[in-house]
């Protein structure tokens, strides 16, 4: 069933089957049955966001729960004095690098899994499944040892590598699922027209994979942007901190300055919220193809 969902990746939302209006009438739920629970849940979801926003923009000493008058003092504090400008740049670099590496490696491997039969394929799939049980928190010691050997402690590359590796299994499964759903005849037609395999892939398959690439890329970015533990352990120079680490430190050190804490939170939230707004249409399909199948 999930294969089907992935097979028409560009259809957002369910396809409504034409049915008799009378029967539809009986199946429909009344409005308040939707809006009462949904409204309560929206409240639970949005009040925390609102709280953070209000504390971030209201002037020092104010106790108002309305975001007025607005001040950007808190943002200036976190951005310039607490170093969030640097953390932000670091997080962005790690996020984009992880995104690119994850997508490229998963694209190559996913194509092999989808289009070839080869010895060891089953073992590889099983191995990928098993990696899902490896706890990130518990790999801290051995990964730290490896990065120390490679001289990558205190380098942002350690974060990129760790992120990419933990993101790969799911991305591979997701992308190979999408490639499998691109009819192979399309590719074969291109070969007949004289395209090499590589050119056929770029000309025919890749454009059809856009939803998969969006999903995989944004998962990788969000994951990397949010990761805390690796950044905490592998990097201990302040110029190399990422946003979550900076935020955690400001939780501890500046626990009195709630305005700064909230502003830091907003800075941490903005990129993922933007990415989320772009991908949320694809999210349901991406999740079903990736997680349920995996």
């Amino acid at each position: 069933m999930t294969v089907q969902t992935a097979a028409r990746p560009r259809l957002p939302g369910p396809v409504t089957a034409p049915g008799g209006t009378k029967r539809r009438e009986r199946m429909r739920v009344s409005r308040w049955q939707i809006w009462v629970p949904l409204g309560l849940y929206l409240l639970f979801t949005l009040v925390p966001f609102y709280w953070m926003l209000v504390f971030a923009v209201r002037p020092r000493g104010s106790t108002s729960l309305l975001p007025w008058p607005i001040t950007f003092d808190n943002f200036e504090t976190v951005w310039n004095e607490l170093g969030f400008a640097v953390f932000f740049r670091n997080s962005l670099m790690v996020g984009v690098a992880s995104l690119v590496m994850t997508t490229v490696i998963a694209l190559a491997g996913g194509y092999a899994l989808a289009r070839y039969d080869f010895r060891g394929k089953k073992a590889f799939m099983l191995g990928m499944l098993c990696t899902q049980f490896i706890p990130g928190a518990m790999m801290l010691i051995p990964l730290f040892e490896i990065f120390r050997t490679l001289g990558l402690v205190n380098s942002l590359w350690s974060l990129v590598i760790a992120e990419t590796v933990f993101q790969l299994p799911l991305s591979l499964i997701l992308i190979s699922g999408f490639i499998r759903n691109v009819p192979v005849e399309l590719e074969q037609a291109a070969w007949v027209d004289g395209c090499g395999r590589l050119r056929a892939f770029f000309a025919v398959v890749l454009p059809l994979l856009r939803p998969a690439l969006v999903a995989v890329g944004s998962f990788a970015f969000i994951h990397s942007w949010n990761n805390f533990l690796f950044a905490l352990m592998f990097v201990n120079e302040q110029e190399k901190f990422t946003v979550p680490v900076g935020l955690a430190y400001s939780l501890g050190e500046f626990s009195v300055d709630f305005g700064a804490l909230a502003a830091g939170g907003v800075v941490a939230a903005v990129p993922v919220v933007l990415v989320f707004a772009v991908i949320q249409r694809y999210l349901v399909q991406g999740m079903s193809a990736g997680a349920v199948k995996g």
């Binding site: 089957a17 939707i34 092999a112 039969d117 394929k121 990964l143 709630f258």
Partner: protein
């Protein structure tokens, strides 16, 4: 599941001549990355778990047999305490997330005006990090900046409620914060599966006179069974391993009351230099997780047709 899909895919291509090496070349980067940074470290953890390996006591280093595991089982009350808390944390968190996620998925699967926006809004905490969740809920729980203060202003409750400071409330305070971030995961996954239920099934059930409750029990739930089993398992593993929120929100306190096993391992890794013992803890957690997963899939009859 993925494996069966792979082997029954109908678009299998005949291997082009002279291209036997191509799939291996394509998959090599992924294999190298995963062997180097997942398999090898995992193997080294198992190796170190059988060693005395302490940076501060190099004269003691060497093969230790199962000493670390004996110490863990019989001499470390914190291991058992953190394991017990992990079980409680995972059970409560995953159970509640599933119930609320399912309700939410059912609601936003209906057709109504504003559905797209509602979906986007209720799913949005999914993208938020554990540390940011902590930042937000610290504000909400704090007695001077939090919700309780404004409720007290209205005369509804007493001033000074600090849910994170008391052993009696800290667990549920953490549960609520994690729930905020975790429910969307189930809602997204289950919604994806709900959308794949053929409408005709419901229509047939309606014609047969089935009430909505019966339709849910006999059409929806059986269809969602595999998705529910798999998503709860994934989530159990994830919540078990999840360190960010508790590490920053409670720090495992007060008095180790909210220390999960991975949090215990992480704090051992960060503070002490006893790699051998830390590795034994890691190995134990990995084994527990693996056995739990296998048992869970067996007992829930995953993939069996109902």
């Amino acid at each position: 599941m993925a494996i069966s899909t792979a082997s029954t895919a109908n678009h299998r291509m005949r291997r082009p001549r002279g291209a036997a090496r191509t799939p291996y070349l394509l998959i090599a980067p992924a294999v190298i990355a995963m062997v180097g940074f997942l398999v090898y470290p995992m193997a080294s953890v198992i190796y170190y778990s059988l060693q005395n390996y302490n940076v501060t006591k190099p004269w003691d280093n060497g093969f230790a047999g199962l000493d670390n595991f004996r110490r863990l089982l019989f001499e470390d009350p914190l291991f058992w305490q953190s394991l017990g808390f992990s079980a409680r944390w995972v059970g409560v968190e995953v159970g509640l997330q599933l119930v609320f996620g399912l309700i939410l998925a059912l609601i936003v699967n209906e057709t109504f005006v504003g559905r797209g926006l509602s979906r986007a809004l209720v799913f949005s905490p999914w993208a938020v990090s554990g540390v940011l969740t902590t930042g937000i809920w610290v504000l909400l729980y704090n007695p001077t900046t939090g919700v309780s203060r404004y409720l007290a202003d209205l005369g509804l409750i007493e001033y000074g409620a600090a849910p994170l400071a008391h052993p009696g409330t800290v667990f549920w305070a953490a549960v609520l914060a994690e729930l905020w971030r975790g429910v969307p995961f189930f809602a997204i996954l289950l919604l994806a599966d709900l959308q794949s239920i053929p409408r005709e099934l419901y229509e047939a059930a309606s014609v047969d006179g089935a009430s909505r409750g019966r339709r849910f029990l006999h059409v929806t739930l059986p269809h969602l069974k595999d998705a529910i089993i798999l998503s709860t398992l994934l989530r159990c593993v994830w919540e078990f391993n999840n360190v960010d929120l508790l590490y920053t929100l409670t720090g495992g306190g007060p008095a180790h009351a909210t220390t999960t096993l991975p949090l215990y391992v992480a704090s051992k890794a960060a503070q002490s230099h006893d790699f051998g013992y830390g590795s034994a803890l890691t190995t134990a957690a990995f084994l527990i997780l693996t056995f739990f997963s296998i048992a869970y899939l067996r007992l829930s009859k995953f993939g069996a047709k109902s």
